[in-house]
């Protein structure tokens, strides 16, 4: 009995650690999007602010990156799903002995590093471009085109894997039945095979879009004049990071949660409808008196979806009326006071030290040990300042002046980024 509860406890602990590991970074990042300091951090909590969202939506480069990412995403979805479907169909048609070889070849792009795909795409199309005698501004060297082509080389393989899984459950006799009933091959494809593949095509499209959206390795070589969001983010981080990026991450997380819940709710609803249809009598079905279950009835995912949606509406509503100016001003005032107290403390200590030095000018040993102690004291005082000082470089300056040690720490390095 005891063992069992211990076992349970450790399983729960394991789960907690596991989920903390999985979701912790996302949660922390989301929190930083609402905290006022200019460097993304969750603690100490200063002021609730929505200004990072507005900063995000005023950042031309981010917005442009999103636009390019979406363009590339759609292009990649169309190309990859089409190629993936063709590849999957081919796999079922090909001579069985060649199947394994064909499979390996078509999966290979997944195993090739994205960097290599990026470079080779660039080189290959550049060659073609030159062979055709086109200039540097031709369509073939257009960043969007190259990125779509480059990403699709391996994303199409992912799509094919998804589509093959569904295709293997397809009964080829269905196509034959359609042909036998007079359909052309194209009609059989469109009316029988394609509807069957639809769920897998939808999954493949979502997968392709996400894979394209988050791609960096390949895109970094091919983007040309069309930097995608990942490229822009990477360049931004190089010059310092602001909570605006957290805000973007938060939006993406929220959208993902929405999509996942929506999908789950839909699946659940379909199950319910299916069960209801099974239970319905023939008369109910044919007379149309058959009652569909409501979207929300015994559908936890739908309930969660509605809750999240309400929460979002409330937060957005608050954001439009809430102003953190007062809070920020308070915090600044408080910081100023703290800094002043610290400066005074420092000056007092320095004074004390000088007096000591003057008093014991003859004996060196105690005089040397004393500043060493003070040094560590400095470090202790300034450690939090390395994080908190950056918004108030002005307030920190006196400290810089007053001690050679303090200046060696953060304020200059961090505030330099902020400016």
């Amino acid at each position: 009995m005891k063992n069992l509860s211990l076992m349970r406890l450790s399983i729960w602990a394991y789960l907690a650690i596991f989920f903390a590991y999985l979701l912790g970074p996302l949660v922390i990042m989301s929190v930083t999007a609402f905290n006022s300091p200019e460097f993304p951090r969750a603690t100490p909590w200063e002021c609730l602010t929505f200004e990072w969202f507005s900063a995000l939506f005023h950042d031309e480069r981010i917005l442009n990156g999103i636009k390019n990412s979406v363009l590339v995403g759609f292009g990649t979805v169309i190309l990859s799903v089409a190629m993936g479907l063709a590849g999957a169909l081919m796999l079922t048609q090909i001579w069985p002995k060649l199947r394994a070889t064909y499979y390996t070849i078509i999966i290979a792009p997944i195993l090739v590093p994205g960097v290599v795909i990026g470079i080779s795409t660039l080189v290959f199309w550049d060659r073609i471009n030159r062979m055709l005698g086109l200039g540097a501004d031709s369509f073939l060297s257009n960043g969007l085109f190259l990125t779509v082509i480059g990403q699709s080389t391996f994303i199409a393989s992912y799509c094919m894997l998804v589509l093959v899984a569904r295709l293997q459950r397809y009964d080829a006799a269905l196509t034959e039945a359609a042909l036998d009933l007079g359909a052309t091959h194209a009609q059989a494809f469109r009316k029988v095979l394609l509807p069957f593949m639809k769920p897998a095509i939808a999954s493949a499209a979502v997968l392709a879009f996400l894979a394209s959206f988050e791609n960096y390795n390949t895109t970094t070589f091919t983007f040309g004049e069309y930097p995608t969001l990942t490229i822009e983010l990477a360049q931004k981080v190089r010059y310092g990071i602001t909570p605006a990026i957290s805000a973007l991450a938060f939006i993406i997380v929220l959208l993902t949660v929405f999509a996942a819940l929506f999908n789950e709710a839909n699946i659940r609803r379909k199950e319910l409808v299916f069960e209801a249809r099974k239970g319905a009598t023939v008369e109910e079905l044919s007379s149309g008196r058959f009652k569909m279950p409501g979207f929300l009835s015994s559908n936890w995912a739908a309930v969660a979806l509605v809750v999240v949606a309400c929460a979002t509406v409330v937060v957005v509503g608050t954001a439009t009326v809430y102003s953190p100016q007062q809070c920020i001003a308070n915090v600044q005032e408080q910081k100023r006071l703290e800094t002043e107290i610290r400066i005074q403390e420092l000056q007092r200590q320095r004074e004390l030290r000088r007096q000591q030095q003057e008093a014991e000018q003859g004996s060196t040993a105690p005089a040397q040990s004393q500043p060493a102690d003070n040094n560590s004291g400095f470090g202790g005082v300034f450690a939090p300042n390395t994080l908190s000082g950056e918004e108030e470089s002005g307030a920190a300056e006196p400290a810089e002046e007053s001690s050679g040690f303090g200046g060696a720490f953060a304020p200059s390095t961090l505030s330099g980024d902020g400016n």
Partner: protein
């Protein structure tokens, strides 16, 4: 019988690599006939059907439909409709959409299709079930939907590939009569495939018995049952008792066979083999269980069989008596229940007689294993 469109197979060969699936098939199927191909699993029945419907090109020979060579004409251009062994109903379409798929292909409006579907649903006795999905139907209902879907295409020839094999016995028997009735109503040629001889006999105008790619015999049910032309056909269609031996003497259409176990017995030479059997040939003689009658004790002669009883059972309408037979297989005797009683027990010897007309002499050959 010139109502429908006939089908002819002329010296049809179908090979898969070195494997010969159909060997030199020559079949004439009358228009409007219910024609069955009967044979054990793997003998090439489906292959023949696929050649007729156009999914397979013959390696040699021709398929003629209505006298027209079908070479190079695809399945969607042939006047045939195939009902698949596993039905192949479109799982995502409702029943009425399934049934009228052939009309959708031709661009008919949903209204027309709905109307036609309702007519066909009435015909297959499934009114008001058009809005269900195939997965919501029972096996027998699905079966009928598949038939309606094929009929909706208005084919000249309907091809059915063991459509009843997935159903339970009761439903199978019911569907047999139903199929036959539908065929009479629409009056088109049905080509039906089965490995169930009972099915073939009850439904067909004519039957082709197949064995390993070869067509052994073509004829109506009575002929195939009473006058088989090969040992395989005799043993595959219906129950039969075999007596192996050699031909001792042939006189007109009767042969005297020296059997291995039961002495010299007389039998009628099957009509396909008349003039082909001569003294000294290996032969087989077949007598059906119901062709025997009890003989007075101690009778001897060329139409009496004496053997030891190994088992007996009472079937209601008949007594089945099993006796030591030829080649390790029990001999089965079926005596109609006319209120009489038998004093037969296991281990006892029993004498039976038969009418020579009901015993068939055939050249020795492979027997059906089933």
């Amino acid at each position: 019988m010139s109502a429908g469109v006939g089908v002819d197979l002329e010296n049809l060969w179908i090979r898969f690599g070195d494997f010969v699936a159909v060997r030199d098939a020559k079949v004439h199927i009358n228009g409007g006939d219910f024609f069955s191909f009967l044979g054990p699993s793997g003998c090439g029945k489906t292959t023949i059907l696929r050649a007729v419907s156009g999914f397979l090109e013959p390696s040699e020979g021709q398929v003629l439909i209505g006298g027209k060579d079908m070479k190079g004409i695809g399945p969607n251009k042939r006047p045939t409709a195939l009902i698949f062994q596993n039905l192949a109903l479109f799982p995502l379409m409702k029943v009425w959409e399934n049934i009228t798929f052939s009309m959708e292909i031709k661009g008919a409006s949903a209204r027309e299709r709905r109307k036609r579907a309702d007519e066909l649903l009435d015909m297959i006795a499934l009114p008001d079930q058009g809005d269900k999905l195939p997965s919501e139907l029972s096996g027998g209902q699905r079966q009928r939907v598949a038939i309606a879907r094929a009929l909706c295409a208005e084919p000249d020839v309907l091809l059915l590939d063991e459509p009843l094999s997935a159903l339970d016995l009761k439903l199978r028997q019911h569907m047999r009569t139903e199929l036959r009735e539908i065929q009479k109503r629409v009056g088109i040629t049905f080509i039906y495939i089965t490995h169930d001889q009972g099915e073939a006999l009850t439904m067909s105008d004519n039957i082709a018995v197949m064995r390993a790619g070869v067509i052994d015999q073509i004829g109506d049910g009575k002929t195939i049952y009473n006058d088989p032309s090969t040992a395989f056909a005799a043993s595959f269609v219906g129950e039969n008792n075999v007596f192996r031996g050699t031909v001792k003497q042939v006189q007109g259409d009767t042969a005297l066979i020296a059997t291995n176990r039961s002495g010299d017995l007389l039998a009628r030479v099957s009509s396909a083999n008349q003039g082909k059997m001569k003294a000294g040939d290996d032969a087989m003689m077949f007598i059906r269980p119901e062709a025997f009658a009890l003989a007075p004790v101690g009778s001897e002669g060329d139409h009496f069989v004496t053997a030891t009883v190994t088992n007996e059972e009472f079937e209601g309408n008949a007594f089945n008596i099993f006796m030591e037979g030829d080649g390790g297989k029990e001999m089965k005797v079926s005596l109609p229940n006319l209120g009489q009683s038998f004093d037969s027990h296991k281990g006892q010897s029993m004498t039976l007689q038969y009418d020579v007309q009901n015993a068939v002499a055939l050249p020795a050959g492979d027997l059906a294993t089933e």
